[in-house]
């Protein structure tokens, strides 16, 4: 499903990604781990289409050249990024925002838009996945949300937009253990045969709940080691020292 070859990314003349090679099949969950500053977040941003990077290499997503698409077209193609720091948009209602996104994607795919009433029903149902209170719907996007609420909101959005590739960027950061469980349960409920996930995390903790098929260690902009889920446990013990 996702085929990354020789991916390089530069920002302000500084090289962050230095030749990433990675392939992820449909239905798989891959964890990307690594020390701070190794390029984990850059990888997620580059895949989602952040324009501040100078990028080379190739990324094929279901046969499409992902790098040639604008961020909104990548969203329509089925790419979803759960942000490490979800952005606040004052005055724009959560539900309104999400329905606009949902229908924009549908429209670009040539599908019929969903009306407000049906959408509300859909939202109410999916909200349960992350145990979100319906009152969040009428609040402004992420405004005044706690760290945990923001992360839950990201997973809720993912549940609505139903991507084929979900990239979770440090979704565990800033979560207490109860919130972590809720978020992980939500993610697990969304695992599907036709959906791949890239779970980016600094700690092994999240991977106790979202068990990956593959684990990759990213250091200095390259994948330096890959293995099964046991690699994460090993890293937790030994730390990243050997890769720095």
């Amino acid at each position: 499903m996702l085929e990354i070859k020789n991916l390089y990314a530069k920002i302000e003349g500084r090289e962050i990604l230095k030749g990433i090679n990675l392939s992820v099949a449909a239905g798989e969950v891959h964890a990307i781990m690594g020390p701070n500053g190794s390029g984990k977040s850059t990888l997620s941003q580059v895949l989602a289409g952040r324009e501040s990077y100078e990028v080379s290499g190739s990324v094929l997503f279901n046969g499409t050249d992902l790098l040639s698409l604008a961020p909104e077209d990548r969203a329509s193609a089925g790419v979803f990024l759960a942000f490490q720091y979800p952005v606040e948009i004052p005055g724009v209602g959560n539900l309104y925002f999400l329905r606009t996104a949902f229908n924009a994607i549908r429209k670009r795919r040539g599908e019929e838009e969903m009306d407000a009433i049906d959408f509300l029903a859909l939202a109410k149902e999916r909200m349960k996945l992350v145990e979100m209170d319906p009152s969040f719907m009428s609040r402004s996007v992420n405004e005044g949300f706690s760290g945990g609420e923001k992360k839950r909101n990201e997973i809720f959005q993912m549940a609505i937009l139903e991507p084929t590739l979900a990239i979770l960027d440090e979704t565990d950061s800033g979560l207490d253990i109860d919130a972590l469980k809720i978020v992980a349960n939500g993610v697990n409920a969304l695992r599907r045969k036709d959906r791949a996930m890239l779970v980016i995390t600094h700690y092994q903790r999240l991977l106790d709940y979202i068990v990956p098929d593959r684990v990759h260690v990213l250091a200095h902009g390259k994948i330096v080691r890959s293995g099964g889920k046991e690699l994460a446990v090993e890293l937790e013990k030994s730390g990243y020292a050997e890769f720095i």
Binding site: E51, E72, V92
Partner: protein, 481 residues
């Protein structure tokens, strides 16, 4: 900010939609300002002697005044002798009904999206249409008259209700108030008059639509709204002008009077021609708007969406004289290209337990300069007075500016005055977040800006709110480059 700039500038080229000129046969005064011109205007309108005397007092006073210098806007000196002070479309004959409105004129209003006949039949909003210096049509007059509401052009009111005009004209904005208001007092040509008698809730929205059409003319209209004890009215005002490369002066005066228990809601969507992308042309919008809560428990609420004009200079204010009276000011001001706005309000608390709320949203883009200037004055006798002020600025791009000048004078210890201010910009992060979710950049910018203005838009009457949102999106197109 690269993407924001690129996205917004990609939308360049959307022309000012209302910039056309209609060929109307005009009756104009000679260029320039003099006592003779003031007399000419008065005689064209067959005015009574007392009104001419008032105009002349204003004119003579104007000669002694100098241009206000304190505002944060820049423009070359205005040559008052190069302006035409009176321009009226020549009526073919006296009008008995809307069907008799000049077809050219009717076509012009249709093009502006204001169908005088349609308005009358369908939307239930009474309209007074003012072109250049005169009112050309007022709809729904008869229906309003049945409940005692007077809604007509100012000139007509001078003839039919001189006692009301004489009583209230200049009672809130005296002819000596400021140079632009004084000029208006000397040469005002028309405008709207509304009178809501005691206990009457006006059965429909009243609105005036102002259109500058002729070249080199100034528009000087006057609006006077009086709500008697317990009366309620909601009034809307819209304005547009053709695209011309010379600046045109618009110096209007609006006076509102609310007696005991009365409530006046005044909403403006101002879309005068803003000038071109290089800052050539556009309207100088120098307007004095003030309301007086004369009676106890009265309320005056101003809502304005200011997207047009090369320069906007206006401070819709409320004098809170009656005990427990309430003043509100909700404003969205957008400056794009080389537009400048210095706008805000004055809340003058005189009565006990008076309350005021100020919500101001300034949006600057391109080289636009946006200033909020507001005064909250709590007098000695205003025990228990309260004010809440919130001023937010949103910047799009790096060459625009936002400025906030809040003034406070508190002379009563029991008063509570709160002020909050913020400045933010649409950043790459917000835009990327929206785009990642599938919303394209231009829709995202418009969504973010509308979200920023939501607190003000929700104060607008329904139809106006939709109009304002559309207007904002259009005005934003091509504003950062």
């Amino acid at each position: 900010m690269s993407t924001v700039q690129a996205e917004v500038s990609e939308l360049v080229g959307r022309e000012y939609k209302y910039g056309f000129v209609t060929d109307l046969e005009m009756d104009t005064a000679p260029r320039g300002l003099s006592e003779d011109v003031v007399r000419l205007i008065s005689s064209k309108k067959n005015e009574p002697e007392w009104l001419l005397a008032w105009r002349l007092k204003a004119y003579r006073h104007w000669l002694t005044m100098s241009e206000p210098q304190w505002q944060n806007v820049k423009f070359p000196p205005i040559d008052y002798q190069d302006i035409i002070y009176y321009a009226a479309p020549k009526p073919k004959k006296a009008l008995n009904s809307l069907d008799e409105v000049d077809p050219e004129m009717r076509a012009m209003f249709n093009k502006l999206g204001i169908s005088l006949a349609e308005q009358e039949r369908l939307s239930g909003v009474a309209v007074d249409a003012v072109v250049d210096s005169v009112s050309v049509a007022t709809t729904f007059k008869d229906k309003l008259a049945k409940v005692g509401v007077i809604f007509c052009s100012f000139s007509e009111a001078v003839k039919t209700h001189p006692e009301l005009i004489q009583k209230y004209l200049g009672s809130v904005v005296p002819y000596t108030d400021n140079r632009h208001a004084t000029l208006n007092s000397a040469v005002f040509s028309d405008g709207s008059f509304c009178f809501i008698p005691k206990g009457v809730r006006c059965p429909m929205e009243l609105s005036t639509y102002f259109r500058i059409n002729a070249a080199d003319t100034g528009q000087f209209e006057r609006t006077l709204i009086v709500a008697e004890e317990g009366a309620t009215v909601s009034y809307l005002e819209g304005c547009t002008a053709p695209m011309r490369d010379k600046n045109q002066l618009h110096a209007a005066v609006v006076e509102l009077i609310a007696l005991e228990g009365a409530s006046i809601k005044y909403s403006t969507v101002q879309n005068w021609y803003p000038g071109d992308a290089q800052g050539r042309g556009g309207i100088f919008n120098f307007v004095t708007k003030r309301g007086k809560c004369a009676g106890a428990n009265s309320k005056i609420s101003w809502t304005q969406v200011e997207t047009g004009s090369a320069i906007t200079w206006k401070y819709p204010s409320v004098i809170l004289q009656g005990d427990n009276s309430v003043g509100e000011f909700y404003s969205v001001a957008l400056t794009a290209n080389y537009q400048q706005a210095d706008t805000g309000t004055k809340m003058i608390h005189i009565g006990k337990n008076t309350k005021s709320t100020i919500i101001s949203k300034g949006i600057s883009a391109g080289h636009g300069q946006n200033t909020y200037r507001g005064l909250v004055k709590i007098g000695k006798g205003a025990s228990g007075a309260r004010n809440y002020t919130q001023c937010d600025s949103l910047l799009l791009g790096s060459q625009c500016g936002a400025h906030t000048f809040p003034y406070m004078e508190v002379k009563n210890k029991t008063a509570q005055v709160e002020h909050e201010a913020s400045t933010s910009k649409i950043d790459e992060e917000q835009l990327f977040y929206c785009r990642q979710r599938g919303i394209k950049a231009e829709d995202a910018v418009s969504m973010i800006v509308n979200g920023f203005c939501r607190e003000v838009f929700k104060e607008l009457p329904m139809e106006f709110a939709v109009e304002a949102q559309k207007l904002l999106s259009v005005s934003l197109e091509g504003c950062v480059g």
